[in-house]
Every structure is written in C-alpha cells, then in structure tokens.
Amino acid sequence: MTCAELQQVLPELIEGEREAELQAHLQSCSECAELVSDLRAIAEQGRTLRASEEPAPHVWQFIETQLRREGLIHDPGTERPFLLRTPTRRWSPAIWFVPVAAALLLSVAFLLRPKPQSTVATRRPVSDTPSAFSTPEPSADADDSALLEAVQKRSPAMTAAYSDNLRKVNNYISDAQKSLQQNPNDDDAKQYLMQAYEQKTMLYDMALDRALP
C-alpha cells in the first residue's frame, strides 16, 4: 500500500478496521506513522474534553417554570381530569367548560327527576315527528334524550331543531375526540373539542331557559 492509497482509506483504517494492513504500512513509513499517531492523540485528548461541569441550577429552574407555564407538567398526585390528560393543556378554557356542562347535565337530570307515572330513561317519545326525535343518533347519550324529552314536553315545536343541533354537536365532539386519539398533540382538534363542548353547553343553556316555566 502506498501513502496515497493509505490516505484514501485512512478514515476507515483509523477506526480500527483493517488494522493489520495499516500497521504493515506504518512500520515502513515514518511520515504516515507520525500522521496516524497525531490523529489518534487528537482523538484521545478529545475524550478528556467531555464536560465534567454541569449546567447551573437555574437552567433546570427556567425549564421547569416554562413547562409549568405551558401546562405541560404537574406534580405527582395532582392528576388532571381525564379530558385534560394530554401532553399540552393549551385549551385551558375547557377546564371550566367541562364542569359547567356537567352542572347543566345535573340540572337537567334534576328537572327531569323520575315522576311516578314514567321514567325518563326508558319512556319512548310520543312525538308526531319521529324522524326528529324518536331515533336519536348513536352518539347522543341518555342526557341528550332526557333533554329532548324536556324540550318536547315544554316546546314541541323546537324539538326538531334541538335534536338536529345536538346531533351535529355530538358528531363534532366525536370527530374531535377521534382526531385527538390519533394525535394527542393535534392543537386544532383540541380547539374544536373545546368549541364543541361550548356549543353543547349553550344548547343545554337554551333548552333549560326555554323549558323553565
């Protein structure tokens, strides 16, 4: 092997490959031997430069503060509500929307508390508009049905509109939830979900207002 040939393959040889071949040339060429020796010394000295110092404590303090500000971390034992158990909590308005929606659902349940002659959950509607109410969408839960029953009793003419809006907002919620399941970091999906819950809350609001005597 000539010096020029060695130069060509030195990046591989110096890593330990073909060591025998390398040594054979170095034994007969002092200049190449000096080059290889220097390069290995540089590599060896480089290892000693690995920082033994650590970053100052304020580095972590800054990181932690920023992450808390962004809602990305919380302390153990302070579990977030399941709807918020996502890596980012930018859609923090949902924090209070959800309990508001839950409160409204409870209000509806209270208003529709079982009467002696019927149970809300099982009574079939006697509406003349079966297409609007009697076959709720799969995604509508019992509370939606109860709400529509209440609307049906108080303002029958509005039932179809409420049913349609509930169907749409439930589809909206379902789509956003599916997107979030596929990609928990989808900020758009989070925003849509928040807006969907907001809309559903407004629907319940309106329904309860209209339903109140």
């Binding site: 010096c3 020029a4 130069q7 030195l10 990046p11 591989e12 110096i14 890593e15 200049e31 190449c32 000096e34 080059l35 020796s37 220097d38 390069l39 290995r40 010394a41 540089i42 590599a43 060896e44 000295q45 480089g46 290892r47 000693t48 430069l49 690995r50 920082a51 033994s52 110092e53 650590e54 970053p55 100052a56 304020h58 580095v59 972590w60 800054f62 990181i63 932690e64 920023q66 992450l67 808390r68 962004e70 990305l72 971390i73 919380h74 302390d75 153990p76 977030r80 158990r85 996502t86 890596p87 980012t88 928990p184 970091n185």
Partner: protein
C-alpha cells in the same frame, strides 16, 4: 434534585420516566433532565465555547424535547433523539450568528481539503502530544460541520451510526468528516506549536 427525588428516581428506568413524562409528571421530567443534562451541556459548550450560550442552548434543547415528548415512539434511542434536537438547536444558533453551516452531504472534496499535501511538509511535530487547552481552542476554529462531528464522536463518544442518525448523514460521511476534522485540528495545533517555537 432533592434526596427524596433521587431516591424515587433511582427506582425509575428511563423508559418509565418517558411514559410518566408524557403524562406530565414533573419528577419524571426532572429525572430525564438529570440523566442527560451533562452530555447536552457538554455538546453545547464545545460547540459554542461560551458557558452562558451553552446554558441557553441547553435550555432550548430540553424545552423542545419536553414539548414534543408525547410524539416519541421509541423508534430511536431517547438520547439520540435528544441529541439530534440539541445539534439542531446549536446549528440554528450558529446560523443566526452568520456562521456558514454547510450540510454534511453538501461538503465537496477539494484540493484544499485533501490531506495528502500536509504530509511531511512541516518540521513541527506533535509527536503524539496534544495540549488540551490548545485542542480546545483549535476546536473553536473548526467549521461548524466538522466541529459537530468531532464533538459528537471524539468528545462525546457517539458511534458513527448514532452520529449519522443525529445529524442526518451517512456513516461513511460521518467517518470522512471526522477524519477531515482531525486533520484540520492537526494543522491548527502544528501551527500553534510552530508559532510558539518562533518558527514562521
């Protein structure tokens, strides 16, 4: 970390910490930071030669990591993923400073870079002895691309296959760039030694 946290963390594997961090566990984040802070800081420090800047870049690299941790699927090693972010953060900073950062794939062989001409053309010998401080200064003078590969391999101990993943080049390219980096460092060191010796 407090002693309590260290004791708790001792029973925590990196994989467990990653899963907990995805759920927003503060102690898991701190544990991951403590595991990797030194290497990330070392990389940033060797690339910038400025402690304050290295701290800023360390912060930025970890913030990016923690913001994206939910997307980590374990396809590569966590440390590789982290160091890729750190390298990108550092290179972006160097670009902002106006330093030319040529992608490794674009590095073109030139006569100037061909090592052959340097062989035996100077009387100054390193004789296998490399001054640590001089080497540090020489690293600062390396172009960012060479500096990255040298720091990752010779300083931080990454293998070429890991470097290839971190910087997005081939293994062959990584070896080639490392070799050129060492040759350039040799030239700088010989020059400095000649300067000291009063030779032209």
């Amino acid at each position: 970390m407090t002693d309590r946290k260290q004791r708790q963390a001792a029973g925590l594997s990196e994989a467990e910490a990653i899963e907990r961090a995805k759920q927003g566990d503060a102690e898991a984040f701190e544990y991951l930071y403590s595991l990797h802070k030194r290497r990330v800081y070392s990389l940033c420090l060797r690339m910038t030669s400025n402690a304050a800047e290295a701290e800023d870049l360390t912060q930025e690299a970890f913030l990016q990591l923690f913001r994206k941790i939910a997307t980590f699927r374990g396809e590569s090693a966590f440390s590789t993923w982290l160091h890729r972010m750190a390298v990108n953060v550092v290179l972006m900073q160097l670009r902002k400073k106006g330093l030319p950062v040529v992608p490794l794939e674009d590095t073109i062989e030139s006569d100037e870079e061909t090592p052959k001409k340097e062989l035996g053309t100077t009387d100054v010998k390193l004789a296998g002895s490399v001054d640590r401080l001089q080497l540090q200064r020489a690293i600062e003078k390396l172009p960012p691309g060479y500096r990255t590969i040298f720091v990752l391999h010779d300083v931080e101990g990454y293998e070429h296959n890991e470097i290839a993943e971190i910087v997005g080049c081939s293994i062959g390219n990584s070896k080639s760039q490392l070799h050129k980096a060492r040759l350039k460092l040799r030239d700088f060191l010989k020059f400095k030694r000649a300067e000291k010796a009063g030779k032209p």
